[in-house]
Point group: D2
Chain length 474, copies 4
């Protein structure tokens, strides 16, 4: 069995919460259904019936992992849920969120989208003081902090997180309250919505759309929202910071029908494509997206350039997560199990391939080869963001710097490596402008290496070690 190839940066998680609905677990299940693209390795739901929290976690997709009897067990009108893509560390049910623990404050469940680069230091400190950890997750560190505080949970949470630089869009559930909190820089998205008399919170608004909830506004950077039987209360307990919202959400992670940071993903991508056509024109016959993520940008590129837009690569949507490889060598096999060229469209044409990123470059090379084998006379690759040169410490699964092709090669060298006739990236300015975000409120560290938080040498080294070892194993 071989795994389906996917050389993409990966969001680590999606979160969903609901308060005050008789079908809380069921709607959380549907919310996770809509957020499935943010993490496919494990999923989990915790529900509260006002007295007790109950947990179900499983490996795999929510549509396969959860059945009627799971949801029936998850009694109560409040719930939170999580989908996860594992980063460093072994894939294991012990890492699946939500985490549910008992402490002096009673039961607490938590789920987290983001990353806490300094959690390791805090973890070491806590261990020295006698704490035990059941997972490798930095989220567990926060739980310890809350458990140790003599303050009530809703006061302990900001107290603990005040001291943490990092990215966190977090949901907490106790028997009687749902708490949402987002870091002061606002790295990862978190949206607030309304479904009848119930409140809902989700990583992306597409989760609201599925259940017919209304998007109200984002949970703001630095904001904490506490929902209990007395209603919703907002506060801003975290120290103010310059905002640093992740633009890669706009480039690749989020679903095109979502609003992220209050802006339409589809529109951002379309504009990136238009701007890419302006900055990086190509003398060609066809514009072809690498599906599915390159589609919106390709439409924009075609519209701006006047070139024909065509679906020259077809994606097989019936692929599982693994497949049995043939023993004989088949050209470009790994990529072909998922993507297939439309020969008669491509043959003899000069093709502009639009993709959203090049990470290691290996898949791009296979796609270029496959398109050329299908008869393309020229293959021009255009990327709807700048070269990815630095790892993300804020909740995105990036390979180590030694593996990021753009950290180690010039654009021309990358072009040669992926065997394209030409290669062009969107500029940082062009990209930011396309999203309509303020440059001062955005995190673009993966493209320019300027991290909004301090990143200690230790954190960096530790991180490199983690991610290299994974690469070595895989």
């Amino acid at each position: 069995m071989a795994e389906i190839e996917n050389d993409k940066l990966r969001e680590e998680c999606g979160v969903f919460g609901i308060y005050g609905h008789p079908e809380a677990a069921r709607l959380t299940y549907l919310g996770l259904y809509a957020l499935q693209h943010r993490g496919q390795e494990s999923c989990g739901i915790v529900a509260s019936d006002g007295a007790e929290l109950r947990l179900e976690r499983a490996m795999g997709h929510v549509s396969e992992a959860f059945n009627q009897s799971h949801l029936d067990r998850l009694r109560g009108s409040n719930a939170i849920g999580h989908v996860r893509y594992s980063t460093a560390g072994e894939v294991s049910i012990a890492e699946a969120q939500p985490f549910l623990v008992t402490c002096q404050h009673g039961q607490i469940a938590v789920c987290h989208n983001g990353n806490l680069p300094f959690a390791r230091e805090e973890r070491t400190r806590l261990e020295r003081e006698g704490a035990i950890f059941s997972s490798t997750s930095d989220t567990e560190v926060v739980l310890h902090g809350v458990a140790r505080s003599q303050l009530p949970v809703r006061e302990a949470i900001p107290q603990v997180l005040c001291e943490t630089e990092g990215a966190f869009s977090m949901l907490f559930l106790t028997p009687n309250e749902l708490i949402a909190i987002r870091d002061s820089r606002g790295f990862r998205p978190l949206a607030l919505g309304r479904l009848g008399d119930s409140w809902v919170i989700a990583s992306e608004t597409c989760a609201f759309d599925l259940i017919d909830a209304q998007y109200i506004r984002d949970v703001e950077p630095g904001e904490m929202i506490v929902i209990d039987e007395t209603g919703l209360r907002s506060s801003h307990p975290l120290p103010e910071q310059k905002h640093s919202m992740c633009l890669f959400e706009h480039v690749y992670f989020a679903r095109p029908d979502s609003l992220i940071f209050g802006r339409s993903i589809n529109q951002s991508r379309h504009k990136m494509g238009r701007q890419l056509a302006v900055e990086q024109p190509a003398d060609a016959d066809l514009v072809v997206p690498v599906p599915d993520s390159g589609v919106a940008a390709a439409i924009g590129y075609a519209a701006e350039s006047g070139l024909s837009f065509r679906f020259g690569l077809v994606r097989n949507h019936y692929v599982g997560r693994t497949f049995i490889e043939p023993r004989q060598s088949i050209r470009s096999f790994g990529v072909r199990i998922k993507l297939n060229p439309v020969r008669d469209l491509i043959a003899g044409r000069r093709v502009v391939l639009i993709d959203d990123s090049i990470v290691r470059g290996t898949t791009s090379k296979k796609i270029v080869r496959m398109v050329r084998e299908a008869g393309a006379s020229e293959v021009h690759v255009r990327i709807s963001c700048p070269p990815t040169i630095s790892p993300c410490y804020y909740g995105v699964d990036t390979p180590s710097k030694t593996e990021l092709i753009a950290a180690n090669m010039t654009v021309e060298e990358i072009r040669k490596f992926i065997e394209a006739d030409s290669l062009g990236y969107l500029s940082l300015e062009g990209m930011i402008q396309a999203t309509g975000m303020s440059p001062n409120a955005s995190c673009v560290a993966c493209w320019n290496g300027q991290y909004p938080t301090r990143i200690t040498r230790e954190a960096e080294t530790m991180w490199e070690r983690d991610h290299e070892s994974v690469a070595a194993e895989g």
Copy 2:
């Protein structure tokens, strides 16, 4: 648990065969992987090691149903495989193909894409003579005929099929030979390819592309191909008939990267879209496909009309085959689990929705509503083929006439039913022209009710009964 809604006509099957390759079962598995869109309910492979045939069948997708140990059991260098979409009758492993039986000629396996409208009569006759049947499939009737013949298998097959009017693209496997045969009208596709020294045969050429085999030519209508250790021999043992190749393959069934009847599916669909724009223009802002099948036609429509092409409906590719429904009513829920509108694109716009067909009309109505709820000021529906008014007796799963909306309503009535601002279908002539097929060599019975074979009143009634009862149960 509710099933994912899919109001489409459905291909019943896909077939794949290979002769003379050490990895026969494994390549058949990959061939079925590529043909998965032609049938998702069951799959099966029979392999021959020259002495014995071995069978593995399972419910579900080939990527989930088959594992390494299945393939290891399927020893030998020849194999045939099948993916199936059930039509009338219970969904059951007893109906999954290939069928493998023993008779006086030894072991024979068969798999079939098509339908034999008169098999019931023959079945009744055989039963009167003492035959027993293990499935409800008409394919089993052919096996009986072959088993009863004193002629060798390769002579018995055409003898039996000579007497049968119907649609069949069939593969037979015996311990020593692979036999492919296609009915004289050529209803369903069947392509021949080459992989090194091995021969491969498949319903669509996309199966060749995945394993890097070369498309040679189609198995011709009325042709039988026998492959054994002495090589490949072609003959034309079936009586000649006017060709009647299924144009719905071009409209919807086949994968866009396949050649069907030697012609590019992607190109046909693009031209259908262009022609549709000529015949059925719309005063609108955006052209939006109903993904995934409407995409190529929508690109053509946009190109011809000059309107903007946009991905205004996003498909969730993480849906399983079922989902757990909420108990509360959610607007358009059934369709929304799979399709979601991009609000900011659609809101305030006049939208042309491009789809490939309207079967019962219920899903179209939900999509139109959903698009309107997302803010579209006008919704114009354009269909890239003529109204579907007659059931197919040649291997496509169509509902009974009473359920086919276009058999019972005018276009204007349908428009009202689906709540569109306007509705336009492609003309029969326009569609045929777009495919580049000869009108004299095409089957368009589902659009004009003129069946290439006689259809007895009995066959018709029996068929209606079968398909209605299913609807009533479902």
Copy 3:
């Protein structure tokens, strides 16, 4: 993974049927639950709602293979079921019974306990006439015969079986009738019972006890019973023969709480033990059964001999069907995973081990060694039937003659092989007497080689070939 060792002769099947009960499938499930010891490889149920037969088959135990939804699908008030132990041939769902087919008489289902030694000849004849077979089972031959007959099913069945020498306790189900038939020699058991207004039929009466049905009488050798809405009718359509009821049912197969051929299994075994003590006394301290099958005879042996009865071997009832072997060699490991000696009981004692048979001798040798390693000063083996010297052609899974240790060695040679201090078998006369059966009505062919039916040289050779090849593979 290694399979749990079991060097026993094995019953091939158990059957159960019920007519006229609203919970027909559910009670059949329970009947099979009680008959599970007669076959653990596959199980199946067919139920009739008066119009349609529905089938569920599965590999494995009925308690694991069947769930609520299976039983819910099996609507109707009549049902038959089957548990199976595979003999020669591959283990496959295609071989699992009941078989359900359609023919000119409509749907017919059948299940069979027994064996038809001449079915191969008839099969060859049928194949020459054009029949097709979906399994390797001889039962399918009978179905063909019935399907070919112009007579109604209830007349066709005896007509077909009249011509067949062999062992059959068979149940047939059509939409409207349940038919039970037993061969004229009565090789295998079949009992008739009553549950309220419903009729029940089963291989052993223990199936009646579980559902609180009353045992009425046996279905007699040569008798056919037809149950339909008009009630139960008995006839004797098969030619009369000398009875030949299988005594191995009494020695080993049947459950001790069953009546077989109208006699108590527990009592037979107890008396065998007593008689064994008379014929084969031992100068020893303890009588220890090889559990579970040797227990009743051991109690009898102890009672008659005056020696102490002790449970010196403990059986682990938590073993699955396979286990993961250690790579290091562990003495007697294969047997020890299931059986363990009670050291303090055995150490220093002279032990009489009571078992019901020695087939290949390999397991007996391991048990003797294990008992000696546990400290026994002497190990005397006593077997509660005569040496097994001939294969069974009537529905019992026996190895080929070359593997039957008693067919190839004297008792003294066997004693040496299994490393016992002494070895004694019960005499044929003693055994028959213990069962209370008439010597003239019993089949003892496996002990004296005198088959009640002719066994052609061809049948014999074919049989040897089948069973040797299995041994060679395994």
Copy 4:
């Protein structure tokens, strides 16, 4: 689905550990195989390769839950494993042992047979200090203590456990050492063995027998054993106490082929039976055990009384853990799915039924009825221990006092409740004598209510609440 009825006291766990063997995980798997009777709800293994601990846990039997790939992942030459029967609390994988955590001392895994009645208090104290708990298990409290200590693990363990009154036979695994410790009263068993150069430790010696290891001696009450690369070191770090070894191990829990507290279980039970015959004779025809646990005592009873020993109740060993109930009422159905009377043996006889305990009395009543329905003229029940009147706080799953029939009824009242003709219990003195244990070294609290440790009113109430709520739910 209904659960298989089992009105028995239940051991909560079994543990197994091995140090210094290349097949550590595999032998642990086999050790758990042999200890499966001590807990069937979940199982788990942690292995160490000297650097890292890896964990696999699963619900269900070890033979079904573990496969080759699990064991392959569990690399290394040291391992511990656990089988568990849940007590109060939800059945959940979160409760399955071993627990594996990380703390300042690195990774630590633990598994525990026993119970710590005061863990709740300590837990509350720890929570007040900020600890978080992932399970409801008292074992986690110990882990916290160890994690908080600045001492090395091997010193921290006894320090923590010194302060705990309760029952614990515990195994700890760190990357480099295996630590076994048993409480000073020695409530639960723990045996030490040798396999070549490796050390093995297990709850019962039957685990040694399966893998051919030699029993060396028990881990003594109050003893700690540390095994690392320098060898095995023993110490007695816990305060000395009067021994209180659980006699119920001898009556029911342990396997008859095990030595517990250095004495043979089989012998104890045999002697209990003999003594029971002396104390509670019966004027009857047959002695019949309730299998499997009553067998050894019944043999003793028969031997002493001179009455005939007979297997009058047959146990169906093919039952799964659940079954599908018929909707119609069947007499004694719940018990009959597992136990069946041998009618011809019982009918007309005066039967002495030997069982090891009566807990709630409901099952006993069903068995007595079933035996009477099978025709017994009289049914005399004899129990091989005294009436169970008090709950166990030391690792046995007992119902609350209100449910223990003997806590609420006189013997005569119980006799009437279970509908027996007579009822007799073994005396406390008789039972102790039969085991050969010193009355001063035994715990008999469940029979006389005198607990070897203080049991606070709070602990008692809390316990009652836990166990009643379970009863109410179930």
